[in-house]
């Protein structure tokens, strides 16, 4: 029984050592560059949205501002508070940054290219469980935050750390669940295979609910506005990194932006066809070959980054309980329901050879009907409750002795004149 | 199929008892229906049986394998043995039982616990049928205990009367003494014969040493004495009259008390193998028959008097059963005829009590024949039957027993003959005191005839009492019917049969005449200036005293001694064990420190040792 074709990841793991080394360096450099650009872009775009100009002094359009900020941070005094747990305090930002870099190893940048004569894919590495690997590394990354919060020896930091890790753990579940549909369709957990599987249709079209859930949870996962509760400055000052300064703080900063880039890249890979050109352009021959796809890949990431910034400039911060409710009570159940539907669709297609279109019709119509009835019922119920609340002022009279045993009036009821019923009792 | 006859009443009893009060209305009818259908099943089986040739009439149905001891060939089946003997019993039990059910409908109509009563009656019928249908002693024992239980429940049915409660207890205890014998007998069979089924026991008893049938026979006789109220375990029967009269009629006259006779006849092969056991049976029978008659003659309580008579009549049956093949058939025959006429007389007594506000003192009766015509006639038929006037039933059975007894020994024969005279005497006394002579009842008593549901069973039973004897002895039909089971040999009395019959009739007539002449004038209160013998007879011939001195006091002494022994030696031993265990434990429990880590340490130590052991073995 073979549900899926043999996956061959034969292109990976055979690079000469120097190619691997160059790739590693390239990934590192790209990430740092992206971070610098993202910081600059964020400041400029948010400024624009707030009718300001933003940094415009260093370099053309102030484009070197990010670099300058980094240099400034690095040169600042490194304050280590007295109460910290020193080893962990130092370890925490390192974990954060390292894991942030590591994730990118499995992101495909492009197809196979000739690399100084060596044919190799534009991807550091890939293996059958790449996407799970991303999740795993992300979960290790949380350690950085928790430990930073704990080791600081400060209540603000501790609460921020706890909050942020609870948040990331919760949203990681929703995120993982949103992947499942992709796995079901691609039949693989390896990123390159998933990109390959999207040759015809991007999964954003097939699996729109998954995509939406992923996008929401990726914002939560990266602790970005409107979900930036761990560093909600009104309550927690700086959150887990309150006590950090100088280069250590810079590492957290770096990690946050790299994570943004990473989740964007992952979204691109899983839902937007990876490095493939968008539809009308993809008809032009040659756009999906060689070094060209890098353009598409980075444009897509840029779009995501812009969305990140846009959301930050637009939406107010959530309250913590609302945020948790969204994660646990909406995203996860929705994900589960959606996965069930996808699984049934796939199962029917695999076992009955039903084309997807028919399956969707077969399942979708009753599902929509059920959903509609439920919705109408709830709507009516809500209406009825509303009407009830309005009608509660209505006063009804009750006879407390009607059943022979006195009963107190309910709210909104008044007792009838006592004399008649008293008489009734005495007469009877 | 025959299992239905047991199952239906049992089911009905279970239903009535478990459903409780909600069956109050229809319960009695269900009960009667169950009993009737049991009778119909029995009748059908009987008819089927008569259509088969003699050799194929007996059959054993195994319902299931009851007790199987793995690894041995010991096995007890839940099997029902339907042969000529058991089917006779089935018919008697279900027929009389059904009639008494119907009678109870009228007799108990004002009792609020009627439903419970009927449930117990059904329980009794089921248990009794199980007793007579069982194909092995253990299953018989189940039925035996079942009827004991039903008897206990029914005697104590009116537990609110202390006398009834005490009587029930007494019956139960006295029966236990007998049951003790039966259980010992069963154990012996199991040990010696390796089986407890009738067939196997019959087959193996002949080859065993002579002490085996002797011991088992005596033990079975003890059981029979307990159940059938024979000397020396007779005392409970008179007290059992505290129960409702239908119970006295059914259980303590017609059926249950005859179970002892059934047991002896069923174990014929054992008794045949031991002359001493047989002679003991005869002695017991003779003593009981005379004792019962004397007690019956002295009692003023009509039911107690009848009870004495029952004891006496069962004495006849036991005597006959002790005579061996010449007597078994007549024992059963007398059992059946007795079932009819004694039932009719008990029912008559109940009817009389019903009419006189539950009075039982014959000195307060008299002249009831005018107001209770059906009762009088049916009772009189029963009277004629019991004293053995031809052509009524008792004549045929009792006369045969006397013949057989005479052919065995003069002593037994004359005792039986004397008993017949006594029977005539006390029965005449009863009839005269109750139905004839001057009315002596109290002011407020207004005697009246009983309702149809009571008189009808009496009429039917009296017809039986009148005709069954002649019907069964015509052409020796009953002898031939039972012969395959019990064996039969013609008795050879030392005198011509006709002579014996005439002598018997003469003795009976003498008894009747004495009975009439002594009872011309009946005082309302029993005279106190009487002979020592009469006093003894009124006191049940000191049966209770005998029991007390022979059994109770030594028993109590033994119990006291055993208690001291138990407390001191046995309990001491076990308390000592307990003390030792306790003191060891209180030291050992110190190892339970409550520290999880200590427990974990022991686990890890154990694991380490285990791994070490594996290592050592591998190396």
């Amino acid at each position: 029984m073979k549900l899926f074709p043999n996956v061959s990841l034969g292109a990976f793991g055979i690079d000469p050592w120097w190619v691997t080394l160059i790739k590693v360096l390239a990934v590192f450099v790209i990430l740092v560059l992206m971070t610098l650009l993202a910081i600059w872009a964020e400041r400029r775009i948010v400024a624009r949205m707030q009718m300001r100009i933003g940094p415009n002094r260093v370099g053309p359009f102030g484009i070197l501002q990010g670099l300058m900020d980094g240099v400034k941070l690095a040169l600042k005094e490194d304050v280590i508070p007295f109460t910290v747990d020193r080893a962990v305090y130092i370890l925490a930002p390192i974990i954060s940054a390292t894991t942030a870099f590591m994730t990118f190893a499995v992101i495909p940048f492009g197809p196979e290219v000739s690399f100084f004569g060596v044919i190799t894919p534009l991807q550091l590495t890939d293996f059958p469980v790449s996407v799970l690997y991303v999740l795993a590394i992300a979960s290790v990354g949380i350690y950085g935050i928790v430990l930073a919060g704990w080791s600081s020896g400060s209540t603000y930091a501790l609460l921020g750390g706890l909050r942020s890790s609870a948040q990331m753990v919760s949203y990681e579940i929703a995120m993982g669940l949103s992947f499942v549909a992709v796995f079901l369709y691609a039949g693989s957990m390896s990123t390159s295979q998933i990109v390959a599987a999207q040759e015809r249709t991007w999964y954003i079209l097939l699996l729109l609910p998954s995509f939406l859930i992923y996008v929401i949870s990726m914002v939560g996962e990266t602790n970005r506005a409107p979900f930036d509760l761990p560093e909600a400055e009104g309550e927690l000052v700086g959150g887990f990194h309150t006590e950090y300064s100088s280069l250590k703080f810079a590492l957290f900063f770096l990690a946050e932006y790299i994570n943004m880039v990473t989740v964007s890249a992952l979204a691109t890979t899983l839902f937007l066809g990876g490095w493939r050109a968008p539809f009308p352009i993809s008809l032009i021959p040659g756009v999906n070959e060689g070094w060209v796809p890098l353009i598409w890949f980075f444009s897509k990431i840029a779009v995501f980054l812009f969305v990140f910034i846009w959301i930050r400039g637009t939406l107010p911060r959530f309250r913590y309980d609302q945020f948790m409710n969204l994660g646990w009570k909406i995203l996860i159940p929705t994900s589960l329901a959606w996965i069930t539907i996808v699984a049934i669709t796939r199962g029917l297609r695999n076992s009955l050879d039903l084309p997807t279109g028919q399956t969707v019709a077969l399942l979708g119509v009753p599902l929509i009907a059920v959903a509609l009835t439920l919705f109408i019922r709830d709507w009516r119920k809500a209406n009825a409750e509303e009407a009830l609340e309005e009608n509660q002022i209505l006063v009804t009279e009750i006879d407390p002795f009607a059943g022979g045993h006195p009963i107190p009036p309910l709210p909104g009821q008044v007792l009838v004149e006592q004399t008649s019923s008293r008489q009734g009792i005495t007469n009877g | 199929m025959i299992a239905l006859a047991i199952a239906l009443p049992a089911l009905s009893a279970a239903l009535l008892l478990s459903l409780g009060r909600r069956t109050n209305i229809w319960g009695p009818y269900l009960s009667i229906a169950a009993s009737t259908s049991a009778f119909l099943v029995g009748l059908w089986q009987f008819l089927l049986m008569t259509n088969r040739p003699t050799e194929e009439r007996a059959s054993i149905t195994t319902i299931y394998e009851w007790l199987v001891v793995p690894g041995t060939n010991f096995k007890i089946n839940f099997g029902l043995q339907l042969d000529q003997l058991s089917v006779s019993f089935v018919l008697l039990i279900t027929f009389v039982g059904t009639l008494i059910h119907i009678y109870s409908l009228g007799y108990m109509s004002h009792d609020e616990n009627k439903r419970r009563f009927f449930a117990y009656l059904n329980l009794f019928v089921a248990a009794m049928l199980l007793l007579v249908l069982a194909d092995n002693y253990l299953l018989l024992y189940v039925g035996w205990e079942g009827v004991g239980l039903a008897s206990y429940l029914l005697i104590g049915f009116w537990q609110h009367k202390p006398s009834a409660a005490v009587a029930a207890k007494k019956a139960f205890v006295a029966n236990r003494v007998g049951d003790f014998g039966l259980s010992l007998a069963i154990m012996m069979m199991f040990i010696i014969f390796g089986s407890v089924s009738f067939i196997d026991v019959n087959a193996s008893v002949s080859g065993s040493p002579s002490w085996v049938p002797l011991t088992i026979g005596l033990l079975l006789l003890l059981a029979a004495c307990g159940k059938s109220a024979q000397f020396p375990l007779q005392s409970w029967l008179l007290d059992a009259m505290e129960g409702p009269t239908p119970v006295s009629a059914l259980i303590h006259a017609a059926t249950m008390v005859t179970a002892g006779v059934y047991l002896i006849v069923r174990s014929a092969s054992i008794f045949n193998a031991s002359t001493f056991a047989q002679n003991t049976v005869i002695v017991i029978g003779v003593i009981s028959l005379l004792m019962g008659a004397v007690i019956g003659a002295a009692k003023d309580d009509i039911k107690k008097s009848l009870a004495g008579s029952t004891m006496s009549q069962i004495g006849y049956m036991v005597l006959a059963a002790g005579l061996g093949p010449i007597g078994y058939v007549f024992a059963i025959l007398h059992l059946i005829t007795h079932g009819f006429f004694k039932a009719v007389m008990f029912l008559g007594a109940g009817s009389v009590m019903h009419a006189t506000n539950d009075n039982v003192d014959m000195r307060r009766f008299g002249g009831l024949s005018k107001s209770m015509i059906f009762t009088t006639i049916t009772f009189f038929i029963g009277y004629l039957a019991i004293i053995g006037i031809p052509p009524f039933a008792g004549f045929y059975s009792k006369d045969h027993i006397i013949e057989a007894a005479l052919s065995h020994s003069w002593a037994a024969g004359i005792a039986a003959l004397f008993g017949a005279g006594l029977t005539a005497f006390y029965m005449t006394r009863m009839v005269v005191m109750t139905f004839f002579s001057k009315p002596r009842w109290e002011e407020k008593v207004h005697p009246h005839e009983s309702p149809i549901s009571m008189t009808l069973p009496m009429i039917i039973l009296s017809i039986g009492a009148a005709t069954i004897g002649i019907g069964l002895t015509q052409n020796n039909v009953f002898e031939h019917w039972l012969e395959p089971v019990t064996g039969f040999s013609e008795p050879h009395p030392p005198l011509p049969i006709l002579t014996i019959t005439y002598i018997t009739l003469g003795v009976v007539a003498l008894g009747v005449i004495i009975g009439i002449s002594l009872n011309r004038k009946i005082p309302k209160v029993a005279p106190t200036k009487v002979t020592l013998f009469t006093t003894a007879a009124r006191n049940d011939l000191y049966g209770d005293l005998l029991n007390e001195t022979l059994l109770m006091r030594p028993g109590m002494k033994l119990s006291k001694f055993l208690t001291i022994f138990d407390r001191g030696v046995i309990d001491g031993f076990y308390s000592g064990l307990g003390l030792i265990t306790g003191s060891i434990s209180s030291r050992l429990r110190r190892s339970e420190t409550g520290f999880v880590r200590s427990y974990a340490l022991s686990i890890v130590l154990g694991t380490a040792i285990l791994v070490l052991a594996i290592l050592v073995v591998r190396l």
Binding site: - | E592, G594, R597, A600
Partner: protein, 99 residues
């Protein structure tokens, strides 16, 4: 490379885990030690799977993980409850169940 090296490693980690249970009083650390022992067992499973050339060992390890997760959830909830009532997470203080 000989699989026995993996087994030895598994044994060593298992023993250290056992020692942790025996020596550490903090309930949470004791619990971690138990997790360590389970992990050691998993390593043995995975190694055996490779040795025998079938995946059953890996499936077993998978189940161990899931069950361990369930165990941790309940165990930690118990620890939290105990901590709430006695304000201590020491296993030695919860020693009422003794003679």
């Amino acid at each position: 490379m000989s699989p026995n090296a993996y087994l030895v490693l598994s044994g060593i980690i298992f023993s250290i885990g056992a020692l942790g249970v025996l020596l550490r009083r903090n309930a949470i650390v004791a619990f971690m030690s138990i997790e360590l022992m389970l992990n050691a067992a998993n390593l043995a499973f995975v190694t055996s799977a490779r040795v025998w050339g079938n995946l059953d060992g890996q499936a077993a390890a998978f189940f161990v993980m899931v069950v361990a997760a369930a165990e941790v959830v309940v165990g930690l909830a118990i620890i939290v409850t105990i901590f709430r009532t006695r304000n201590s997470a020491s296993v030695d203080e919860a020693s009422l169940l003794r003679w």
